[in-house]
Symmetry: C2
Subunit: 344 residues, 2 copies
């Protein structure tokens, strides 16, 4: 049975929603969960008969982690000073093969730093990268990177393309993922220096590269994977969240402002729900950090029960797909053409 180590202390709604998500996952999937964190705090949320029975059956285990890393702590400081955090200990279990994968909704920077340090990088991978699965009207797509690498060389973008391609193919089950490069124009000669050079590298790789994607194309289903540096990826991702929030607050205010609007909104509710469901990040819960020697899934800090359950499912799927070995086995070959470039 697959076992997943879960950071019980990470995220805005920890530990209550994390424990709920873990219990949901055990109920729905064939999985064993090891929760890391304050034993007392975690046990407080395990008082239901179902939770107790899972503990008795050995499907739910709690491991004391005396430290926890706050959401706004400096990742580099926390990484060095809190070696007994729930993130460190959970990832050590993965490194030591006592668990098959790790899930955290905690401090993203800390999860990335500790994952890279404890699990190590896959050979040839210079920069592990954080992909996000973004729901859209045309189905989910992957954006990579979304914040772990804010200064990228063209070669790094090409490496992201290779890794995100494996992720899309093996975990999201997209046969021949269409890869696009985020840029300011469709033409090959458009873009900043990094995008221009990355374009030339990616087009030589054995990938289904469909060229440049402009900002307006992002939500239109033109590619399954969009490659960009983590600075612009992060700005876009958060901008999207902001637009959604703004949209919601506008119509809430409208509903209060007139009976007519309230009536219209009530009638349209099914449409709004359908629209919203298209963009429900909780549907995927999280994404594995690509390029490290093990499965480490980063979930959204706002994750509640369902998002955590789905992040655990993502970890299970990633383990089952053997994505880490696939990347390790194939990356040296696909990297050959890139390795010829001088490491600048």
């Amino acid at each position: 049975m697959i076992s997943i180590a879960v950071d019980g202390m990470g995220g805005d709604h920890a530990p209550a929603e994390i424990v709920k998500g873990a219990i949901s996952a055990i109920r729905e999937y064939s999985v064993k969960i090891i929760l890391f964190g304050s034993e007392k705090a975690l046990l407080d949320h395990c008082s239901s008969p179902e939770a107790k029975s899972f503990i008795e059956k050995g499907l739910l285990e709690i491991q004391e982690a005396p430290e926890s890393i706050g959401m706004s702590e400096s990742p580099s400081v926390a990484f060095r000073k809190k070696k007994n955090s729930s993130i460190h200990l959970g990832l050590e279990w993965v490194r030591d093969k006592k668990a098959d994968g790790f899930v955290s909704a905690g401090n993203t920077g800390a999860v990335l730093a500790v994952s890279t340090f404890i699990l190590g990088r896959i050979d040839h991978v210079e920069r592990p990268t954080l992909a996000a699965i973004i729901p859209s009207q045309f189905g989910p797509f992957i954006m990579c990177d979304v914040g772990s690498n804010v200064d990228c060389k063209p070669r790094h973008l090409a490496q992201f393309a290779i890794m995100a391609n494996h992720f899309a193919r093996l975990v999201l089950k997209i046969n021949t993922p269409r890869l696009g490069l985020l840029n300011i124009g469709e033409e090959e000669d458009k873009g900043n220096t990094a995008a221009l050079e990355a374009y030339q590298m990616i087009k030589t790789l054995p990938l289904n590269f469909v060229g440049n994607m402009e900002g307006k194309d992002i939500m239109l289903g033109k590619s399954d994977v969009i490659i960009c540096d983590g600075f612009v990826g992060n700005c876009l991702l958060k901008f999207g969240e902001g637009v959604e929030a703004m949209f919601g607050s506008f119509f809430k205010a409208e509903a209060k402002s007139s009976l007519r609007s309230l009536l219209g909104l009530l009638i349209l509710k099914p449409s709004f729900m359908k629209f919203k469901k298209n963009f429900d990040y909780a549907e995927y819960g999280g994404a594995p950090l690509l390029g490290v020697n093990g499965v480490s899934v980063v979930a959204h800090g706002k994750s509640k029960e369902r998002a955590i359950k789905n992040a655990i499912r993502m970890a299970i799927e990633t383990v089952k797909s053997d994505m880490v070995s696939e990347i390790a086995n194939n990356i040296s070959t696909t990297f050959e053409s890139l390795q010829k470039e001088p490491v600048s």
Copy 2:
């Protein structure tokens, strides 16, 4: 009377909508318009009694420009090869003080290149920059740069901040514009190399710097000006347009799918119109290129009559505010602290 040279051949709806916009502007404002382009094509759209009377009164003038630059032509090639384009000739009139300002909805890259070449840069300005006025629920804000400078040094971002501040203050009449720096976190120590260094420069300038703005903050009215490099600015701007289009197409499809949705949408129409009006780019029409020795307003390629009229209003306001002289007179002082940095 202020006179504005207008590119009659630029934009997706040229020349018909450009001529209409020019006539609207003459009707509403105290302005003389000189249209540059194919005399025959432009005159074809000037057959109304109103247009004829404007021509007779000397309020509307047509200047033959034998060449025009296509929307997808390479700006650098067009810039060199088409010296008799409507963009070149219109800007020459501004340089030669025969017109006070220029407006074009044509090939943005070409307008930028030709404006910089013909009008010249203001002393101390290294990179003229394209700002966009973005409508939002909380009123308009400026995003700068949005595509003219895709590889920016920190110093360039600081220069954008100074110029955009003058623009916001003088043309948009915001007393003490709040300036934000687009970044991936609120904290001073977050960001890529360019953002980190730009933060340190901008905070030393005599500006109302309110710190980093994350993607989610962009639409929330937290600042009047958002500074970013042209790559990320362009991606965000187009992403926003894409989201708006996606939103529209979703609800159009819903209206067709069920009577209930159609009814709800009809009832909610005033709300939707109100929402849409918040994001109507045509309300501002265009923005002046900042940092050149003259007024050159870049309008959206999709501009129709109203957007062109408003872009002309923007040119008039910019001329009246004497923004170009204000930037020229103040920038040397405010640049002193930046000039100490080695030009890298």
